[in-house]
Assembly symmetry: D2
Homo-oligomer: 289 residues x 4
Amino acid sequence: MFTDVDLMTAIITPFDEELKIDYKALKKLTEHLLATGSKGFVIGGTTGETPTLTENEKLDLYRNFTEIVDGRVPIIAGAGSNNTAQTIDFINKLAKIQGIDMALVVVPYYNKPNQRGMIAHFEAIAKNSPLPIMIYNIPGRTGVLMEKETVVKLSQNNNISGVKQCNTMEDLEYIVEHTTDDFNVYSGEDAQALFAKVIGANGVISVASHLYGDEMTEMYQKLDAGDYKTAGKIQRQLTPKMAALFMYSSPSPVKAALNKLGYKVGGCRLPIVSLNEAEKAVLFEKLNL
Amino acid sequence: MFTDVDLMTAIITPFDEELKIDYKALKKLTEHLLATGSKGFVIGGTTGETPTLTENEKLDLYRNFTEIVDGRVPIIAGAGSNNTAQTIDFINKLAKIQGIDMALVVVPYYNKPNQRGMIAHFEAIAKNSPLPIMIYNIPGRTGVLMEKETVVKLSQNNNISGVKQCNTMEDLEYIVEHTTDDFNVYSGEDAQALFAKVIGANGVISVASHLYGDEMTEMYQKLDAGDYKTAGKIQRQLTPKMAALFMYSSPSPVKAALNKLGYKVGGCRLPIVSLNEAEKAVLFEKLNL
Amino acid sequence: MFTDVDLMTAIITPFDEELKIDYKALKKLTEHLLATGSKGFVIGGTTGETPTLTENEKLDLYRNFTEIVDGRVPIIAGAGSNNTAQTIDFINKLAKIQGIDMALVVVPYYNKPNQRGMIAHFEAIAKNSPLPIMIYNIPGRTGVLMEKETVVKLSQNNNISGVKQCNTMEDLEYIVEHTTDDFNVYSGEDAQALFAKVIGANGVISVASHLYGDEMTEMYQKLDAGDYKTAGKIQRQLTPKMAALFMYSSPSPVKAALNKLGYKVGGCRLPIVSLNEAEKAVLFEKLNL
Amino acid sequence: MFTDVDLMTAIITPFDEELKIDYKALKKLTEHLLATGSKGFVIGGTTGETPTLTENEKLDLYRNFTEIVDGRVPIIAGAGSNNTAQTIDFINKLAKIQGIDMALVVVPYYNKPNQRGMIAHFEAIAKNSPLPIMIYNIPGRTGVLMEKETVVKLSQNNNISGVKQCNTMEDLEYIVEHTTDDFNVYSGEDAQALFAKVIGANGVISVASHLYGDEMTEMYQKLDAGDYKTAGKIQRQLTPKMAALFMYSSPSPVKAALNKLGYKVGGCRLPIVSLNEAEKAVLFEKLNL
């Protein structure tokens, strides 16, 4: 569905001092991200702290974000849960918002469906969704892995258009090899950003691009220009910084870094806690901030 | 808080043919469980498919269940989520129901708070809850482990009264050793039922007791009577059956087994799928049903 | 084969200042162990640093040790390697020593045979061994797990008489349940000492018994006397100390502790390094030494 | 030390029908490998079944192999064990053979040294070795991981010249980034072959190159020519075949495949068993043989 969109950002949700969504900060951040190479967005993903947003907040957020982006790049909106019926209900609400290209539906977390349950879940949603679906496969959070064969099987559904995959390189390669070209395959792991593109995936849905959009863009450009050595050097120098952004519960580190850089994105809602001073010191040293 | 309650059951939620809660089946099942040794209940836990119940369904379920149990044994009601504010809100609603002794609050799943976030989450809830809290620590579902030291620290909060622990024996022993006698420590792993009691925990919050309440009761009685050899034999013979109840996504196996035994508890809501015929055949062979 | 032998010690190999085997220290340590409840020994196990002993040193060690023990308790001698032919050759040499009851043969490490290779390995050895074999199943060191069904299958070989098992409680229970009473089943994990006996295994082959023989003996006696609560309390208080003995590469911690207590067992041979002062301080605090 | 050596093969040891080393088959295989792109060799690695070769067999094998290769490409000879003194002894014997460029020394397996023990082990060997050392870091076989910082520290030793690394991409990148250009960094994982080179490592020490040398050579050539897309396609199509070569205990699958192709490399020595007919059928289907 997307072409030439290699670098997407899973954007954070900025909060003000009362922990309400801060749309002014969101506007400023979005412009920064577009200026540093983000060619698309996931709004309302895990990085966006959606577990702590109410349904109305989410719809409001999506509405405002589509206005900010104003068609300049594609938008994928978070829509998943571990309740099939509720996911269908919500996806029909968000589909009324103009400017959303796809709905990101996570493999159900916590209640741990097996492959057959995952297939039933995604097929029921795909059948009842006005928007195409991107699968979000992140076993480190959900406690269950959607097997590569299951992703491929679901890719044959007309209304399932892509996957954000957070697992091994082997699985990512398999999915690229066994799906058609119009099925979008993204890695959700920043450390796989370069290799995802090398082996034929579309690219990465990134957290690190909040801070390193220019470097990641250069990395992809060098690769496209045939200079894999420079691309490889950029990746290996970014990897430890990408890891640092997950050394405390995400998105508290990326929010702390953005605040340090002047973007006023605020703190986190419980159960995620903002970094304390000691944690900030450790993080900023790792990021050279 | 509880004394002499070694065997508790995390009870399933029976559904009728339209997948609505079937209170008649719930009544029948509850009486069966009480008759086969359950000395307390968790209602609305993972086994109860709460991710797929609406808030109103949950409150209605809890209300009806307290009437069925009618004070005969203690009741712990599931109340957790990965959203601190929402958990506080819900716990205040369920606290209005007479006959609930404790609220089970799971470590936040999916958004993966660190230890500091977990502490903030549970302290905020404990402070704002009319009911005492039992922590539910199940890293295999949540993706994060509440460390044993964190459990011990939280045990010192006056309104946190227990833990349902699903991790190593070492952690369970540490928690028993470092908490006071009135802090309830249960294993949430059926395979640890015997050893949990041996090393000084209260006992187990069980799924297997839906089927093996008599055997588990006998196991605990033999242990109390000094006959550890018979108790050990019962545990080692039950362990493979307990494992079989998790060979497909829980609670689909225990529901299939109860249906086979005539309890008419119905199927599962998506994303959990009921067992198909082939799966039933495998399961029933393992359970000798 | 063994009856009433619940507590066995996998004895260290004492070295003098030139890192040669110190038989005087071995004699003193052995008497201490017998006096504090060891009812049998593994000599030349991993704890005995056999990877760094030459074949002649091993045979000399076994010869001297059988003289020290002098028939008072059973002796199992380490004989395994990841080379089937070499294991058969060595076992025939050690079998000439009077007073060895069994040969401990580890699942091949490093070259990672599969189940079929393990069966071929153990059957070839059993067929060519004058001594009965005890399987040593320790996946954390070997990189491969002998599955519980494979242990059971091999238990039917007349010359395979037992297993030292270092894996889950579930596997230990399964092996006890599916083998005959004369097949010896020991846990090789100190933290499983109590539960191994509770579920019907013979007991434990221990490292911690170098230091805590009296306590472990009391633990087993209390269990046999019907007082599981005291037994459970002893286990849960010993477990963290047992873990501390593996916080640095074994057997460097147990050797440091024995040296501190006056047993002069010396240092370790490379690649195992003796504890430095900082490590000793951490260890001794955990052990209250 | 090596430059422009991106594809090395960890060559198997061919056996005749009596399971003795078959030098005629070795000669034929070596010529095949040189003809299909191998630019260097590891002889006597794990793939070469060295745990089951006697010391004399190993020395004889190395002597013959250097004559076969006759200086055409570099040779690294396996020399490690979990006994420091024995490793030093052996390395001095093999160093007398003309034509060996480096000794491969594995992180000690089974006795599990910690980082300090690993450093002591490698420094003692480096000090006493006439040959430069390549570290072999393979936690899946040894049970212990040499941390990336330890590899970097050891890289500063004048007589330690490289590492064969079998762990995450993150660790491989870190090692490349933090070592000098003359320190050789190879991945020992075929699935990382392409990415290892992309991020600046020398290349891969391969098992799959026994069968896919032409394809792997083309992959590297395409990458060097700026055509990452074709290189990525070759990798993602080879990855499942590379995995198949480890679906049974290595090197039994690669030997079976070579036998099928007419190279008469024989079976395996216990405890590794040759593939049976059913296993061969599964393997050959995955390899399209």
